[in-house]
């Protein structure tokens, strides 16, 4: 499940065509449920939103994204 900030919802819905909106918050953000078949590609997709998106679950994907970011050279 991927949380998208309100400012990036149109972009997200344009990029992701097989997701299901499982929650819409009052602030305009949405939670998208997606089936991930390629972890690297999914992390690349999530990072195109920079800090305007967050993987809520599963924890393994959160951890994988965090590990990826920690490898960005300082």
């Amino acid at each position: 499940v991927l949380r998208i900030d309100a400012s990036h919802v149109p972009m997200a819905l344009g990029l992701v065509d097989d997701g299901e909106v499982v929650h819409r918050a009052d602030d305009g953000s949405i939670d998208l449920a997606l089936t991930v078949v390629n972890q690297d590609a999914f992390i690349g997709l999530v990072l195109t939103f920079l800090d305007h998106a967050e993987i809520l679950e599963p924890p393994e994907l959160r951890d994988a994204l965090v590990a990826h970011l920690r490898r960005v050279p300082a």
Partner: protein
């Protein structure tokens, strides 16, 4: 030679070659009249033709041009006379390309191209009407409004998300052309906010209002609808690991140098968020070798912001 976009120039050449071949020898002035170009431009095009051919590009596989006393003769090499043989996948790609053109508003379904492609489809035993080409997830009402505004030369006000700068804005645009490319719809037009020609992805337009104000129509061949970095944009130098080689293929580069198994590439950066996205996606596969001070920390700063969101900074 007058400045003609490369695409328009190739299209013109593709029309000129068979006609000149069929009518050789033909007077230079007659070719100029038929194709509406100057003598100087025609002679420049004719200088290019001897470099056109097919592999292995030996003299017998190249187009030859002879100009004698203002009479032009164009001769196609023997390989051009062979019947075109397509693999099934190449033929299907042609049918699909034709279907995408048919999807463009205003396209004539009965034109020569569509009739020709129908024959290819028949040989493949596929129904071209059942070949569906999806050109991005855009609102049909937005697409129709933009096409109509471009046709009637009316300005539009659009709400637009700029991916590179990560910002939303409202702009007034003179819509010059709506077109599809590589699976997405685009609007090419004069942006009054930027005071420059801009290309907009239509799936990033979240509102569109046709205004009463009109604009002077533009020559459709006078603009090139591709991104060109400005020479004022700062340059960043990256050292890329082999798995990041796609960067060189995907983005305009200033220079590319191989250094062992790594690639040293220079890119112009139009906006910091674009570089941030690139660097966080590349992770450990890219190292910034050189950059202006304001861009030097783009990767780690963006990574830090995202990690903060995950409570992991």
């Amino acid at each position: 030679m007058s400045r003609v976009p490369a695409g328009a120039r190739v299209a013109r050449l593709l029309a000129m070659i068979p006609w000149m071949t069929e009518h050789s020898p033909i007077h230079v002035d007659e070719v100029c009249r038929r194709f509406g170009i100057t003598r100087k431009d025609l002679l420049a095009e004719l200088e290019v033709l001897p470099f056109v051919g097919v592999p292995p590009y030996t003299p017998d596989t190249m187009i030859s041009v002879d100009i004698d006393d203002d009479m032009v003769s164009v001769f196609l090499a023997e390989p051009f006379d062979r019947p075109l043989r397509l693999t099934p996948s190449q033929a299907l790609a042609l049918v699909a390309a034709g279907a995408s053109i048919r999807a463009i508003p205003g396209a004539d379904p009965g034109d020569a191209l569509q009739r020709g492609l129908a024959k290819v489809a028949a040989a493949l035993r596929v129904d071209p009407e059942r070949v569906t080409v999806e050109l991005g997830d855009v609102e049909q009402a937005t697409l129709d409004a933009l096409v109509d505004a471009a046709r009637t030369h009316r300005q539009v006000e659009i709400g637009y998300y700029t991916y590179g700068r990560d910002e939303h804005s409202v702009r007034v645009v003179d819509p010059h052309r709506v077109y599809a490319d590589r699976g997405s719809w685009y609007l090419l037009g004069w942006c009054h906010r930027s005071e420059d020609t801009r290309v907009f992805r239509i799936d990033r337009i979240d509102s569109c209002r046709v205004l009463d104000a009109s604009f002077e129509p533009q020559d459709p061949t006078s603009e090139i609808a591709v991104f060109h970095p400005s020479s004022d944009d700062p340059v960043v130098t990256l050292s890329l690991a082999p798995e990041a080689g796609w960067v060189v293929e995907q983005y305009p580069t200033e220079s590319v140098v191989l250094d062992g198994d790594r690639t040293i590439v220079q890119l112009r950066v139009a906006a910091r968020p674009w570089l941030e996205r690139l660097l966080v996606r590349l992770g450990s596969a890219a190292v910034v070798v050189d950059a202006d001070a304001e861009l030097a920390d783009a990767g780690p700063a963006a990574a830090r912001r995202i990690l903060e969101r995950y409570g992991a900074a």
